[in-house]
Amino acid sequence: MRGLGGSYRARDAAGLALCSLSLLGCVLGFRGEAAFFGEHDLSQTEELRISLPDTPLSIVACAADDAQNCPPALLYDGRWLSVAGSRADARADAATPTLRFERDDGFATLAAEVPLAVDGAVDLVMGQLQLPDDRHIDARTGVGDVSVRGTEASVVVDIDVGDVEIRGADGGLAVRTGQGTIDVVTPGHAELRTGAGSVQVEQSGDPRDLTVQTGQGSITVTVASDADIDLSVRTRGRIVVRTPSITTVTSGRFERRNGNGSISVVLDSPAGDIEVRSVDPG
């Protein structure tokens, strides 16, 4: 990772004025910012784990077979934000933390290294990450929306709070968010869980296994086909199924097995509405 030096912006005057007027108290200081970008070789890497503190993640996969425009490398940019008691400290603190890339055979990690001296006083804001589409991705963060587009390999997303948007993940998909919506269009099998938020998923390829759980929120599923589906739906809310061979409006629990039942679709929500459609409306 290379830094682009430190820049700073002065304290928010309006906020400071309000803070000073508040009866509770306030803190006087400065904000700092340091931009960075990084490039790491992924030629021997099959799977990349991105494990970062609270930050949005936007991952774009390029076509691995287009070596001209898609080098076997991880490219990214971003910036560190800081708060400090002086301008010099704000600038220095923003430039102190780093992103650390390590590789072990076919597995690589990208993680943040924040010294204790500035831990709690800096915040990471990632820009876009780019890598070839045949690398498996495992993305983890605390608070931050995650977007993954174009990956043909598998994708795993595990975050505490944030919305998740996936386009691709042909090799399979697993998503967990503590709070946030999930929006997926994938040809692969998928296992999606959110503590609070709605889920919208569309199977864009052949029929695949699908499991969706929400703590609270609706589920909307568009299956590739209902020919060999083993459908299990459970919610206290409304259940609406409209596929070529299944049509029902009910609530509580609904199960249907078509053909050999080799494609398992399990949808579970305590109270949210669940709707199942088909790519081919019949």
Binding site: R31, A84, G85, S86, A112, A117, D119, V161, Q179
Partner: protein, 464 residues
């Protein structure tokens, strides 16, 4: 003077366990309450303060009926003279204390101050219509049981001491009790009232016979708690999650955080205060006498400030719970160990241990209000797991070790305290501090060095 004109004092020598008059009034029938007969004459024309006189009392004397007056029972106590002064500062009655008996004074309802011959306040008491209240004298005015026994000339086994009844005076039509029994205010209420207030704010006040006060406290406490919860719930847990999303405005966030801290502190102070108040009201309703000559004081404090934070949201509420043990070296000067606390964070398994030293000078202490100013230094030691662990252990490299950091935060503060009981106070403590290194808070958050910090503390203190 009007109160003084209405004041009637009867000195009633109560023979323990006896229904016989010991010092019968020379001019009153045994079944006619002396106080009542005197009140009648006083109400017709007395305009001067009436001194108490000694008189006997019989069982019938305890059933004066509904008089519209309140009764105060004083003593027994060391021989001396006490003066009753009403809320307007007018002298109402003079009470001669005796070690062998109690003195009962009938006076119009209201709050009175009991003063000694030099004019110093001995106690305060509230007289209520048709109620009997005991005036609790300080230890200096109380007599030992043995001394009381000698004074009453009792050589045999001591008879049970008469006590003071708190409650309505009996109806004149009611049959006279066979024995005068005066017992203190409900002793169980001293603990039941605060316990009930701890469970249901205001419940203790209602138990003490102050339903209006209890309802006001209940409404206020519930309102503050609900307000705190509502303001806390107004936060956006996903703030900063979406790229380029500015999130809530800085002004809105500062106002929200300020309200959160202020409401939380107010709710806490009111909650604790009403528990202390329930105890105070159950014991007696005199103003507290703060322990100026205390040796040790224990204080629990919560300091809060709205500080800036990196990223979004751009501001955060930094709260710090701590404990202080302060000693009073010389009158008005305190010095001790302060800011004791531990802060934990799951992040990197961070542990921060905090302690400090503080000195303060109390420059004002009148009535129930104390004002002090001082300063101190807060020290922090923090341990956290290594910032990053290597993907592959390198046998040639030592494993990453935990990181440690120290911090020092000098500060100055102003301390305003209000005593609700003789030993218990609530306080507000504005404080300004300057961290010389990053100051740690709960959850791994921190304020940077040189970040001048203005805080407001809410404290609960107990004095020994």
């Amino acid at each position: 003077m009007l109160r003084a004109a209405w004041a009637l004092a009867g000195v009633l020598g109560l023979a323990p366990g006896s229904s016989e008059p010991s010092d019968g009034p020379p001019d009153g029938p045994p079944d006619a309450p002396l106080g009542l007969s005197e009140r009648a004459s006083a109400g017709e024309g007395l305009r001067e303060p009436v001194s108490t006189r000694e008189a006997g009392v019989t069982s019938a004397d305890a059933a004066p009926g509904t008089t519209g007056l309140g009764r105060l029972v004083v003593g027994p106590g060391r021989p001396g003279v006490l003066h009753l002064v009403d809320a307007g500062g007018h002298h109402v009655a003079t009470v001669s204390l005796r070690p062998e008996g109690r003195t009962v004074v009938e006076i119009p309802p209201g709050r009175y101050t009991v003063r000694d011959a030099e004019g110093a306040t001995v106690a305060s008491v509230e007289a209520e219509t048709d109620q009997v209240h005991a005036v609790e004298l300080p230890e200096a005015w109380q007599v030992e049981p043995a001394e009381r026994s000698r004074a009453s000339g009792s050589d045999g086994p001591s008879a049970p001491s008469p006590a003071v009844v708190t409650g309505p005076l009996a109806s004149p039509d009611a049959p006279p009790p066979s024995e005068v029994e005066l017992v203190p205010r409900r002793r169980w209420a001293r603990w039941a009232a605060p316990l009930l207030s701890a469970v249901v704010p205001g419940g203790g006040q209602a138990l003490n016979g102050q339903p209006g006060r209890g309802l006001a406290i209940f409404t206020g406490t519930v309102g503050l708690v609900l307000g705190t919860v509502a303001v806390w719930g107004a936060r956006d847990p996903a703030a900063g999650a979406t790229p380029d999303d500015p999130g809530p405005s800085n002004a809105r966030e500062i106002v929200r955080l300020g309200a959160l801290g202020g409401l939380g502190a107010a709710a806490g102070l009111l909650y604790v205060g009403q528990i202390l108040d329930a105890h105070a009201q159950a014991v007696d309703r005199r103003p507290p006498t703060p322990r100026r000559r205390h040796v040790i004081a224990l204080e629990v404090a919560r300091f809060s400030t709205v500080g800036f934070a990196p990223g979004q949201p751009a501001y955060d509420l930094y709260s710090d719970w701590s404990l202080a043990i302060m000693g009073q070296l010389v009158p008005r000067v305190t010095l001790g160990i302060s800011d004791l606390g531990i802060k934990l964070a799951r992040h990197r398994r961070m542990v921060t241990v905090q302690a400090g030293a503080r000195a303060a000078y109390r420059f004002f202490d009148r009535g129930r209000v104390w004002l002090a100013a001082g300063g101190g230094v807060l020290l922090q030691g923090t341990r956290a797991n290594a910032a990053a662990t290597p993907l592959v252990d390198d046998p040639d490299e030592p494993p990453p070790s935990a990181e440690r950091a120290l911090s020092m935060v000098p500060y100055a503060h102003f301390d305003a305290r209000l005593f609700l009981l003789d030993r218990w106070s609530l306080g507000l403590v504005p404080r300004v501090s300057l961290p010389l290194w990053a100051r740690r808070y709960r959850g791994g958050r921190s304020l940077p060095r040189y970040g001048t910090t203005f805080e407001l503390g809410a404290t609960l203190g107990v004095y020994f």
